[in-house]
């Protein structure tokens, strides 16, 4: 145990690594608070869900419409008072107000704020009205064909893609049967909260963690060679097996760094944006449909389950990157070169799909890497892109790479143990 403590001290006492963690956290906080302006509008949903629940069904819809009508009536009383006008919906009101500055000035901030809240309700109702039609007119297989021709897939590769999209189609039907889509959430097309959290924030965090674990692992693995202590350290009783302690400590430090960065970032995020009442909303809801493709998770997951899975996957990616650097360090024996070797490996792996034949299933195989995984955290556990649509994409990567890296690590360590140390 005490060996690990000593190795761990090497990391903790490195001001650079501590400094990097602080810098990354500061950057993330900036990233989160940069979006603070949408905060007020988001809370409207919290209030609605509080009163109506998040599940969209006939009863809820009725209550919703009643609520909306009440509010609209109240608004019309005010407008009638002030300008002797009434409106059929809030949209018309705002259109008028926007074009007429004098009219705008008639109302107090508080009133306008309130009307804005009713406006948001109205938008929700509009969205809900279109929901069934949107899903009905969404053609998954047509999307598949576009993707296939865009990437020029042929032969068995194209077949695989088609069958994947068919499977996703089955899941979409199941999702619709379950009514997973019929749930209230932040409007993706307006606020893009799924993208903000899982694309922007999780991706940045994943890259920060990657940089950190590579630096930590390269640092600790090459520490002896760079401090001219390998002769002494590797001839002790624990000897060269100390690299296993180093690996564990690197992993542990990576986990701690991940916890700090991800933890503080997420706490800031959820403090700023209230998810009150929304934690258990299915992730595949209609409002998470941000652009041309709906969000279709392979499993019926709630938001909180999805979040936890993403967090776990982020930790695991960090561990996989630690193992990759572990192996690289054994060969380079130089932290500087290890870092760049990792970067080059990253780049080369991203280039491989480009040179793969488009007609062979191997092209999919070349996309099964943790590097591809961290590039697109917003589509984890969902079906979407042609190369990542596999149901068990994430699990396969983690399993196969974990196993390969374990074997690779064992073999590299074996080599290291037999190596001459000068």
């Amino acid at each position: 145990m005490s060996i690990k403590v000593h190795e761990f001290k090497k990391v903790v006492t490195s001001t650079v690594i501590i400094g990097m963690i602080l810098l990354f956290i500061a950057f993330n906080l900036f990233l989160v608070f940069d979006h603070h302006y949408i905060r007020n509008e988001l809370t409207v949903l919290n209030k609605m869900v509080d009163e109506l629940g998040y599940e969209i069904n006939d009863e809820m819809l009725e209550n919703f419409q009643d609520l909306y009508r009440d509010e609209l009536k109240k608004m019309n009383e005010i407008t009638n008072d002030k300008t002797s006008k009434t409106y059929g919906d809030v949209g018309t009101f705002f259109e008028e107000v926007r074009n007429d500055y004098d009219l705008y000035n008639v109302y107090t901030h508080k009133e306008l704020d309130h009307m804005n809240q009713i406006m948001i309700m109205e938008i929700y109702l509009d969205f809900i009205k279109d929901m069934d039609h949107e899903y009905a007119s969404f053609d998954l297989l047509e999307f598949a064909e576009t993707e296939i021709s865009l990437y020029g897939l042929q032969g068995s590769a194209a077949e695989t893609a088609r069958s994947n999209y068919e499977k996703l189609g089955d899941r979409l039907n199941q999702l619709l049967d379950n009514g997973e889509h019929k749930n209230m959430f932040f409007i993706g097309q307006i606020y893009g909260m799924h993208s903000l959290l899982f694309k922007d924030i999780f991706r940045v965090v994943s890259f920060e963690i990657m940089i950190l674990v590579v630096l930590i692992t390269a640092y600790i693995m090459n520490y002896e060679f760079e401090n001219k202590t390998p002769l002494m350290v590797y001839s002790t009783r624990r000897g060269r097996n100390i690299i296993w302690d180093k690996l564990l400590v690197a992993m542990g430090s990576g986990v701690i760094a991940t916890t700090l960065i991800l933890g503080i970032t997420l706490i800031a995020y959820f403090c700023l944006f209230s998810y009150k009442g929304l934690w258990t909303v299915p992730i595949s809801n209609y409002f998470n449909w941000e652009d041309v493709f709906p969000l279709i998770s392979w499993w019926d997951m709630s938001f909180i389950q999805y979040l936890i899975c993403s967090i776990v996957l982020t930790y695991i990616c960090g561990i996989l990157f630690t193992m990759i650097t572990f192996i690289l360090s054994i060969f380079t024996k130089n932290s500087y070169i290890s870092f760049f070797a990792f970067g080059i490996l990253f780049g080369l792996i991203l280039l491989i799909p480009d040179i793969m034949p488009r007609s062979n299933n191997l092209i999919f195989l070349s996309g099964f890497t943790p590097f591809h995984l961290v590039l697109n955290p917003q589509i984890w556990f969902t079906g979407r892109g042609i190369f990542t649509i596999f149901k068990y994409y994430e699990i396969t990567i983690v399993g196969v790479w974990g196993l390969l890296l374990f074997i690779g690590g064992k073999l590299s360590a074996k080599r290291f143990i037999k190596e001459d140390i000068h």
Partner: protein, 375 residues
């Protein structure tokens, strides 16, 4: 000089060069090559490019009112040809579309996608491009007005000047400019990363290796610190020159040579610059920027190398530097170096400031090195 040469030799270690080449290779194929392989990037960009060539041939570097009238005439003739095409096309007849005007007004339906995307009829694509160019030319006032709204006093003066001197009639497509700036932005990143990678060990390598005792007691002594800095600058010059050589050789594949002597301020380009530059002058300006920025980065990296206790620290300290280079230096000080979006002398002052600050920091570091105990 021999000492500097020796230091440069140490910078260009074979293993380091190999890794630098790999880094460049990867960055090229991941990002940079896009701007070469996809230029012009599909349609209607290709048609814009072709029509600009035609304009260049017919009207020279500028297009005056008379020439514009001719350009419109050509357009009318082309419309006539389109009408004929539609009258002969079966699907068009089926749909009851017989004129180009009618075709335009129906928007994107079956016929539209058939002609544009399935048949890919050049004529129709080109008509679209011509329309947008005619529109650009005819709405000059509107463009100026919009720009005016977003501008401050100094910028408005410059806009007035441009309008007054009638400098908007140059034939210069914005796609060529965008392609160049995108390309050079990626090239900058590759070059700056190469410099950082190659120079980071410059002081650290000898420091970690106990070399200082021997070096500092030799005749050259602590002056070696300065020689190394000079070596870094020369190595940077070599790296920049070689990489720019290769990347510009690749750039010639884009065939934009005919625009080199065109003025870049143009109603078709829709950007106003502080100076009346031709495309080649602008390119030279960006290259000067790259050299100066490269030297600044070389000095900063040397400084970090002389202070950092180990390699991991040099990397970690440089990560914010890379970020800053990417987000601030490359876009504001190189890609859009003369654009009116920033005050007229802001770039010059920034460059001067960066050079002075990095020189002062290195100077302070040198003075400390000169008087430091080498324990």
């Amino acid at each position: 000089m021999k000492i500097v040469l020796n230091e440069i030799k140490k910078i260009f270690e074979l293993k380091m060069i190999a890794i630098m080449l790999l880094i460049n290779f990867i960055l090229y194929f991941l990002f940079t090559s896009f701007h070469i392989n996809h230029f012009p990037n599909g349609r209607p960009e290709l048609d814009h490019y072709n029509i600009h060539l035609e304009m260049l041939e017919n009207y020279g570097r500028d297009m005056d009112e008379e020439e514009f009238a001719h350009f419109k005439e050509v357009y009318e003739n082309e419309v006539e040809r389109a009408n004929q095409y539609l009258q002969e096309d079966e699907l068009a007849r089926e749909e009851g579309i017989s004129t180009y005007e009618a075709f335009r007004s129906i928007g994107s339906d079956r016929l539209g996608s058939y002609i544009m995307f399935e048949e890919r009829v050049d004529l129709f694509w080109e008509l679209q491009a011509r329309e947008s160019l005619i529109d650009d030319y005819e709405t000059t006032d509107l463009f100026i007005e919009r720009l005016y709204e977003k501008s401050n006093e100094q910028q408005r003066q410059r806009i007035d000047e441009v309008v007054h001197e009638d400098r908007l009639s140059s034939i210069f497509p914005n796609l060529v400019f965008n392609n160049y700036t995108d390309y050079i932005g990626e090239v900058c990143l590759a070059i700056f990363l190469s410099i950082m990678f190659m120079l980071s060990p410059i002081y650290l390598r000898d420091g970690k290796n106990n070399m200082n005792d021997l070096q500092y007691t030799s005749k050259i002594g602590r002056n070696l610190f300065k020689k190394k800095a000079l070596g870094a600058i020369i190595a940077t010059f070599i790296i920049i020159t070689l990489e720019l050589g290769v990347y510009f050789l690749i750039y010639t594949k884009n065939n934009t040579g005919m625009f080199l002597n065109s003025k870049i301020i143009s109603i078709f380009h829709k950007r106003i610059f502080w100076y009346n530059l031709t495309f080649i002058q602008y390119i030279v300006l960006t290259l000067v920027g790259i050299y100066v920025m490269g030297f600044v980065i070389a000095l900063m990296v040397s400084l970090i190398s002389s202070l950092a206790p180990n390699y991991i620290a040099t990397i970690a300290i440089q990560i914010p530097l890379v970020f800053f280079t990417l987000v601030v230096f490359i876009p504001y000080l190189i890609k859009y170096i003369a654009l009116v979006n920033l005050p007229k002398y802001s770039r010059g002052i920034s460059y001067l400031g960066l050079v002075i600050v990095s020189l002062i920091l290195m100077g302070i570091r040198w003075r400390r090195e000169k008087l430091m105990d080498i324990a």
